[in-house]
């Protein structure tokens, strides 16, 4: 039995950590991704079994209840969630990961300090200052991941406005909250020795962290959501890692750190795709009135609009077509209609491709997932750097609910708030259809020169309806 606990269990954890590494590595290559995911799932199973073995004979009642409820909720939601709701889903899952880490840290405190009414510092009770301070960090990071994710979810679900909400003096407020939380953490971890005080300190810390998550995410606009979601993903890993320090468990430290790294890499990719620094995204309040004074606003003049019939006529003569999907495609759930039109064009011998901007949509890879759901072969989805040289030889580009990522102002208007952001150069193609509900500004609230360009045709309407109408016209013409 002793060998089991002192040798087998730690080795099982090591095996699990190695499998997590291999699994995540494979998850980064298209061909091996699915196996990588399965490998990571098996690694998780090994870690869970090892933990249960390590626990030995304890009362399993609550464990089983928790596992059953969690499995049910997790499985049902994972199977039921439509692909269009994936950003919301990922946001909520980030939150639940953060909550789990915070709850573990809290329960350790209750178990070892508050319930035994032990007098003495937390550091003494839980085995050292590192453990007690990482408890505070777990609670801090875990809770702010939870509340930040909930705000992100509410923004994505459009329960609250996707526009940045700028609180007055928010930088000062955030700084105060961070300093307050850390100070409280230090006091909790090393200084206080009264269980009553400790409990109060911990509850206040939960409150402060929760508030911090809200104040950090609420100023960030909808178009910057891919950055926020990747960052929250990173936080949920860091929270797990901190819990690993609390429990002196290396498999938690390793897996958590790798998730933290993965989230940071995605965050960086997203920031690079907008040519902005992380600090600018987090503190910028981008897209709110104070930053869009110069390049934004203004009425559109010289806009040419067309109906589905005219669009279909132009498409009849096209040899090459590039679809440029954006968030509007997701909102209208037009991915299937888009695929249908693509099929129809391909049957007529037209060369069809899709141009994918890294930050199109509301989470990293959003467009890829949507189009995959509609069975668009991923070989047709072309990344920005590869597709940009092709626009000038393209007959028709169809912009479906994308705005800022196709705004030529980003390359030539130095006063534009998005100046410097790499864009899809759709304006170089012979004709551009911009399918859009109205001339209203995008999330960033910036005027788009593309709409006034001579080769642009605005096709007003819901993306799905417009596409269906074009399909109808094309079929009739046959």
């Amino acid at each position: 039995m002793d060998v089991l606990k002192t040798t087998i269990v730690p080795l099982a954890y090591l095996l699990s950590a190695v499998m997590f590494i291999l699994g995540l590595k494979r998850l980064g290559r298209v061909r091996t991704a699915r196996r990588g995911n399965t490998l990571a799932a098996i690694a998780m199973l090994i870690a869970i079994v090892a933990t249960l073995v390590d626990l030995g004979t304890v009362d399993y009642q609550w464990i089983l209840i928790g596992l059953a409820v969690g499995t049910l909720v997790g499985a049902v939601s994972a199977i039921k969630v439509p692909m269009t709701k994936m950003p919301e889903f990922v946001a909520l899952f980030n939150g639940s990961g953060g909550a789990a880490s915070a709850l573990v840290a809290l329960s350790v405190v209750w178990l070892k300090v508050i319930e035994p009414m032990k007098v003495g510092t937390v550091a003494d009770a839980v085995g050292g200052g590192a453990q007690s301070f990482t408890i505070a960090l777990s609670v801090l990071v875990g809770t702010l991941t939870l509340s930040g994710s909930v705000v992100a979810y509410l923004k994505l679900a459009e329960t609250i406005s996707g526009k940045p909400t700028l609180l007055p003096g928010r930088h000062v407020l955030n700084a105060l909250l961070v300093v307050g939380a850390l100070g409280l953490g230090v006091w909790f971890a090393f200084m206080s020795d009264d269980p009553e005080q400790l409990r109060t300190a911990l509850l206040v810390l939960v409150g402060v962290s929760f508030l911090l998550g809200i104040t950090l995410v609420i100023p960030i606009g909808g178009a910057d959501m891919p950055v926020v979601i990747s960052l929250l993903n990173s936080y949920s890993g860091v929270a797990a890692s901190m819990t690993g320090f609390v429990l002196s468990n290396n498999v938690l430290i390793i897996s958590g750190a790798m998730v933290g790294a993965a989230g940071l890499i995605l965050t960086k990719i997203m920031c690079d795709a907008m040519n902005r620094s992380l600090a600018n995204v987090i503190f910028g309040g981008f897209g709110a009135d104070e930053t869009t004074g110069k390049g934004g606003g203004g009425e559109y003049v010289n806009v040419t609009s067309a109906g589905a019939e005219e669009a279909a006529m132009i498409l009849e003569d096209a040899q090459s077509v590039i679809f440029v999907p954006g968030y509007g495609l997701a909102v209208a759930q037009a991915q299937h209609a888009c695929r249908e039109l693509a099929d129809l064009l391909q049957e007529r011998g037209v060369d069809v491709k899709y141009a994918i901007h890294p930050v199109a949509g509301r989470m990293p890879g959003h467009m890829n997932v949507l189009l995959a759901e509609a069975d668009v072969p991923y070989e047709q989805l072309i990344e920005m750097d590869e597709i940009n040289p092709e626009f000038k030889n393209t007959d028709v580009s169809i912009v479906l609910g994308a705005n800022d990522v196709v705004n030529p102002g980003a390359t030539r208007d130095k006063t534009s708030p998005i100046y410097g952001m790499p864009i899809l150069t759709v304006h170089e193609s012979r004709t551009v259809f911009v399918v859009k509900r109205s001339l209203g500004a995008g999330f960033a609230g910036i005027k788009n020169e593309l709409f006034e360009a001579d080769n642009s045709l605005m096709v007003f309407g819901d993306a799905k309806k417009v596409l269906t109408a074009i399909i109808g016209e094309l079929k009739q013409a046959n």
Binding site: L27, L252, A261
Partner: protein, 97 residues
Amino acid sequence: MTGALLIGIYVFVLAIFVGFEIIAKVPPTLHTPLMSGANAVSGITIVGALSAATTGHPTIANILGCAAIVCATVNVVGGFLVTDRMLAMFGEKKKKK
């Protein structure tokens, strides 16, 4: 600084580097699956959660532990399943082609 803590910090820092190395160049198609897969992996907190809910009678510690198990399990089961669902979509098309 205790030996265990020092080793923990070593492991933490090295794991971050491993993470950066193995995921550095991920194609955009996999951004979402990588995120949801990584999310499932962060459900590893379940290991801590399990050890936190081991008494039969409901104490506050136990209730917190049980809630942690629920959250972590949702993460693990939901995360791996939804990732598999997405990746299956990517795979199918390849066969069709």
